[in-house]
Structures are given as C-alpha cells and as structure tokens.
Amino acid sequence: MLLQVEGVSKQFHNSVHALRDVSFSVEKGAFVSVIGPSGAGKSTLIRILNGSERCDSGSVLLGGVPLERARSGRRRALQKQIGTIYQDFALVENVSALQNVLHAALPDMRGLPAALGLFGKARRAEALALLERVELWDKAEEPVRDLSGGQKQRVSIARALMRHPVILLADEPVASLDPVTGRQILELLKDLQRQEGLTVLMNSHNLELSRAYSDRLLGLREGRIVYDGPADADPAQLEKIYARGQEETP
C-alpha cells in the first residue's frame, strides 16, 4: 500500500471534532475522491496527509514510513514526496509561472543558489517541459496574476509535478473554477494518472464530477468515514453521505 491512514483523529481548540478515527488506505496508481458536505473534515484530512497539520492520535504511513512522528528534517524529506494542489492555487501572484514551478525545486538546492534564485539550466528545462505538459508553454514568462483560474490551477499542477511526487493531493481543485474549466483540469489529472501512473487523492464536494473521474470514493461525514467503495456504486448508497444529521444519530 502506498498510503495507509490508521485511526486518525483531530480535534480543534474550539472543540469541533474534525476527524474521528479515520482509517483507509490508497494503493499505487489509484484515483480516489474524498466526498462529503462542507465541514465534514475533508480539508483537514488533506492538511494532515501533507504534513501541514498534526493529528491528535493515529498514524499516517507513506510507503510504510510514518509521517506523523517524523520531526523537522525527516518530516521535510517525506513532504518532498507529496505534491499538493489547492482550491485557491496558493501561487505567488506577481512572479512568473515558470518561477512558481521552479519553487518546487527549492528543497533540493544548496543555500546560496536557492536564496539567489539561480535554478540552473537543467531545472529550468524540466520546469518548461512540465509547463508544456499542462499546455502552458507559451505562458511560462507571464506573471501568474495575468492568468485565468484554470491556467493558474495548471501552473499549480506543474509545480506539484516538479517534485516527482509519489502521490498528488488535490484539495477541492475545481471548486473555484467554472464547470467547463473544472472538467478540463480533472481530465488533465486523469491523464496523469492513466499515462504516468500518478496516484491522486482528491477532495470534492461535487459528487457528480467525483463519480465521473475517480475509481474509488471515500464518503466523509462529521469527521467519520461513512462510505468506502467503488465510484460506480448505486447512487442510493451514496445518499447517506449527504443525509441530514438527525436522521442518522439515534
């Protein structure tokens, strides 16, 4: 198993239970969607998986190595294998698309060249190739603020790929895009999965899109996994993910 999540719980200071005893695993090359209503804990899960947040209990294993207990240096080494894309892209807006992609090379560079932003020919060529892969070759030198939402998300994907990630985490990647652009971005992710064997774990509140593009669905509700099964299951089974709270709790 590439990613194993075992009994992960997380509670915030305002005593909201974000995650309760969440367990699942993802095999290499899968396209898994985590679905559920807003506030179900989907984003918290992604932030725990990429090491931005720590969980209160449980463990996350990436390729058999525990991420949770690792401290600074080892933790960063593990984080280098994870690519993340975000709903709001998280790019530096007044810097070119190429520079943003190159930022992903920083963890492997020595101090001085990294500080001066001297990335070298090989890295520039690789970043340009990745921008070409996401069909943005001609926009490489444009500042990100001049790009459309879909183009920004493509830059963000290229930045994630620059790390040669073993897994790509996508936190609501199409929620701030229009439907047509959103589908194009998901097509791209699907292509990357099919052609390059990339493992994708995506968050989404859009059931229809998730069913269309993923192999497997994880239903998250009030911090618990309530569904774990194939994406083409009977829609009636998926209803309970979105069913109203009172009907389920006795």
């Binding site: 933790r75 593990l78 975000y86 530096v92 920083l106 030198e141 444009e142």
Partner: protein
C-alpha cells in the same frame, strides 16, 4: 518578458550605482560613526529624567502648536477641495486656468513648511499666525495634487451626464465626482494632520510660534531636562492625534459605523474644535513686516540672481543641489534598511500582539522627535556636514516607512508560504521566494514616496548645520537678500521637479 526583466535589472543597477556615488559624495563612513557612537547618548542622557515641574509652562505653546496644525489643515483642505477640480484634466475645465494653477502647486510643493513659515513671518510678523499660514499653504499644495490625481483616475460618466442635463459644473462635481474621491481625500487630510502636528512643533525655530520657540530656547541654553519634558509632551500630543486620526480613518473607510445622531454630533464637535482654534489664533502683527518688506520680498523672488547658478565649487548652487539630493537619497535608503526589521517586529501578523504594539510605540516615539533634535544629537557624533544630514534623514524616515511597511506585510498573501512549507521548503527560503516578491513593489513605492518628501525636507537640514541647500537659503532670507533667496528657491523648485520626473520613471519600472 525577458526584455522587461533585463530593463528592471538595469534599473536596479542604476539605483545601486547612484547610491554608492551619493554615499561617497556625502562622506558617509560607518567607521567614523562607530568610533564616536558613545556621543549619541550625550544629549539623550541629559534629557532624562525630564523636568516634571516644567510641564505647566508647556501647555500654552503646545495648544498654539495644535492650533496651527488644526487651522492650517482645515483651511488647506477647504482650499484644495475648491482648487483640485480646476486642476483635473478630465472635467473639461479651460486649459488656460489649469496649467498656471498646476505650476503654482508644483512650485509651492517644493518648499518645506519651515521655509514657508520663515517667509510668512516677514509678511505677518512673528507668532503662530505665520505658522498657520505656512501649514495652510503646505496642506493646500499637497492635498490639491493628491486630490486632482484621484479625480483624474475616477470615472467621469456621472459628471458628464449631469453636465449634459444642464447642471452647472460646480454642483455636478460635488454630486458626481466627490463621492468617488471623498474618502481618499479625507484619509489624506487626516494623514496630513498627523504630519502637520509634527511640523508645526518646529516652526518656532524661525519665529512662527508654538513649541518650537521653547525648543529652540532650551536647546540653546542647554537645559536638556526641559527639552526632555517638551519632547515628552509632544510625544503625548502626537499619540493623541494619531489615535484620533486612526479612529476617524476607520469611520471614513467604513470599517466602523456609528449612528446618524452620533455622526452629526461628531461633525459638530470637530467643526467647533477647528473654529475654536482658528478664532483664538494669535492675530497677525504687521508692525515688523510692512508693505515695503513685502514689495522687496516679491520683487526679489521674481528677479532671482541667476549668476549664482554659475558659481563653481562648494558655494555654487550646482554643488549644493547635488549635496541635497545625495543626502535625501542615502538617507532614504538607510531609513528603509532600518525600517524593515522594525516593521517585521511591529507587524501583528508575524509577532505576538504585545510585542508588536511595543515596537509600534518605538516607531511613533522616533517619529515624534523633531528632526532638529535628531540633527543636534547626530552632530555630536559625526560633526557638521552632509553625513549628519544623512543620519538625520534616515531616522526621520523611519516613522512613515515603518508604517507603510507594516501595512504591506499585513496585506501579504500567506497561502504560497503554506504551500511551500507543505513541500518541505525551509522558512528562510520561503521568506525569500513566497513573501519577498509580494512585498518588494510595496516597499519600493513607499521608499520612493519618502524620497520625494525627503528631497524637500533635506532643504531645511542646513538649520542645524547638516549640509545641503538649506543653510544658504535661510541665511539669505534672514539678511533680506531676496534676489539670492529667489535664485536658491528657483533651484529648489527645479530639483524637486527633476526628482518627480525621475521617480516617476523608477515607479513605472518597479510596477513592471
């Protein structure tokens, strides 16, 4: 795109080269400063503890200082409100009116309040009336310029629609344009009120009333404990005005709301305050400045002694102007360098709140000490000359720059910072690649703005023997050498105009 980056690099190199040359030209030397650093404490040490018994004597000049700034800011703002629409190019007003007005504003803008006040004392006699006139003119010039630029950037569709329906231009402006630029105008006026309080505290040096008179007297008598209490009183007044202005500013920007009744009450109170300060202003004294003085003043100013421009060497106008520009340039750069760490420490977003508040207080304290006092402190360390001017300018820039830098840091987008953290990038590299690119344009434009201010302020450094063109100008004026004063003033106007042009070019380069 590549060409643009190359141009920007070239611009950076030009600025760096200018800085190095100016550094050499003004005779700056860290070694000399470090050697004599202990003398920084000479005067500070004697100011503490302040003379508490002296406070009651300060109250009346302090009120005169506040009077000058309140009256001057209010009158200047009113005048600017009427003049700005005549200067804006997009309201269809006659060119023949607009151009001379703009030239007049540009000329007025070239002079620091202190020089305006000195001129006013020749016409209206010694006392706070002359100070109020100077503050009014200064506020009028700055606000008119800012306001007409705002008007030119605002859409004029509604204004033209009203004019097309047969409305007269004045009412059409107040109905259709003012609502769009009003809040920016009021914020600028408030900001000027803050600066004016600090400016009017030194006008007494040239005889224009207020705290400056006492400050001048006590520093000449070396009664530093009394100077300490004056500065403390000034700090309190500045804090009071700044918190009042911050509160009013949040009302103007709509971040805070009050009921209509409270609003009317507030307006009435403010109007009453301004009226009270205007009505009780010291009356002008025409016994000294008679008609004859006024006549020779104006005729001298308008027929400048142009041969001064051709004098070679250190007494020539060319040399003095260059020195003034260099002092402003190096002073601004040094000030920016000092302000960045203060801003990072003072930002509530990066630091715990109490620590941030403490560092903000430090920056207010630094700002509320008049530049003349800083000049006196530094002259002990580095002796008379341009280096002292540079240090004074640097410290005086800290207040505004820290404020602007903190605003830039507070507006920064932290999402890329978090994204790079999730990829395992170290904090220093994140600072460099995720935050610095976002901050740089704002930092650059703040520094440029301060440079514009400093080039004018540098002209009064001469008053403490800190180099530049100020000493000859003030000397000429005090000796009624109006034709010389006219030539120096003309050169100052030209310098400010030139710097305006250059900094416009750099501004466009920074924006990219």
């Amino acid at each position: 795109m590549r060409k643009r980056r190359l141009l920007r690099l070239l611009l950076g190199l030009e600025v760096a080269l200018a800085l190095v040359l100016a550094w050499r030209f003004t005779g700056c030397s860290f070694a000399r400063f470090w050697q004599r650093r202990a003398h920084m404490g000479d005067i500070f040490g004697k100011m503490l503890p302040p003379d508490w018994g002296y406070f009651p004597r300060i109250l009346s000049p302090l009120w005169a200082t506040l009077q000058m700034s309140l009256t001057g800011t209010a009158l200047g703002a009113l005048l600017a409100l009427v003049t700005a629409p005549l200067c804006a190019a997009n309201l269809g007003r006659p060119r023949l009116l607009r151009l001379p007005l703009r030239v007049f504003i540009q000329v007025l803008r070239a002079f620091p309040t202190l020089i305006l006040a000195l001129t006013a004392t020749f016409l209206f006699g010694l006392g706070s009336f002359a100070g109020a006139v100077a503050i009014t003119l200064y506020t009028f010039a700055i606000l008119t310029r800012l306001n007409y630029e705002d008007i030119e950037n605002a859409p004029t569709g509604a204004y033209q629609a009203l004019c097309a329906m047969g409305s007269r231009r004045g009412p059409a402006f107040f109905r259709a344009c003012l609502p769009q630029v009003g809040s920016s105008f009021l914020s600028n006026a408030l900001y000027l009120l803050e600066t004016n309080v600090r400016h009017s505290a030194i006008l007494g040096y040239v005889g224009a009333g207020g705290l400056g008179l006492l400050l001048n007297e006590k520093t000449s008598w070396r009664e530093y404990a009394k100077v300490g209490s004056i500065l403390l009183a000034l700090l309190l007044a500045v804090c009071l005005i700044e918190s009042l202005s911050a509160w009013l500013g949040s009302l103007i920007r709509g971040q805070r709301r009050i009921g209509p009744g409270a609003k009317r009450l507030l307006l009435a109170a403010l109007a009453l305050l301004v009226l009270l300060s205007t009505a009780t202003l010291e009356a002008p004294d025409f016994s000294r400045g008679n008609l004859q003085t006024a006549k020779s003043l104006f005729s001298g100013l308008f027929s400048p002694e142009l041969s001064l421009f051709l004098v070679p060497g250190r007494d020539g106008l060319g040399w003095l102007l260059l020195e003034t520009a260099c002092i402003a340039l190096v002073g601004t750069a040094l000030g920016a360098l000092l302000s960045l760490p203060l801003a990072i420490l003072g930002s509530g977003r990066l630091m715990p709140r109490p620590a941030a508040a403490l560092f903000r207080l430090v920056s207010v304290a630094v700002r509320s000490i008049p530049f003349l006092i800083w000049g006196l402190i530094f002259i002990r360390v580095t002796g008379p000359g341009a280096f002292t001017g540079v240090l004074t300018m640097a410290v005086c820039s800290i207040g505004l720059l820290t404020k602007r830098f903190i605003a830039a840091i507070d507006g920064v987008d932290l999402r890329p910072w978090r994204a790079l953290a999730a990829m395992g990038v170290s904090p220093l590299l994140r600072l460099r690649h995720a935050l610095l690119p976002q901050l740089l344009p704002a930092l650059g434009s703040a520094a440029l703005y301060r440079f514009d201010v400093n080039i004018r302020e540098a002209a009064v450094l001469g008053l403490v023997g800190a180099g530049g063109i100020g000493a000859p100008l003030i000397f000429a004026m005090q000796h009624y050498a109006w034709r010389e004063a006219g030539a120096i003033s003309l050169s100052l106007v030209l310098l400010v105009w030139l710097v305006d042009l250059l900094s416009g070019k750099v501004r466009r380069g920074v924006r990219g």
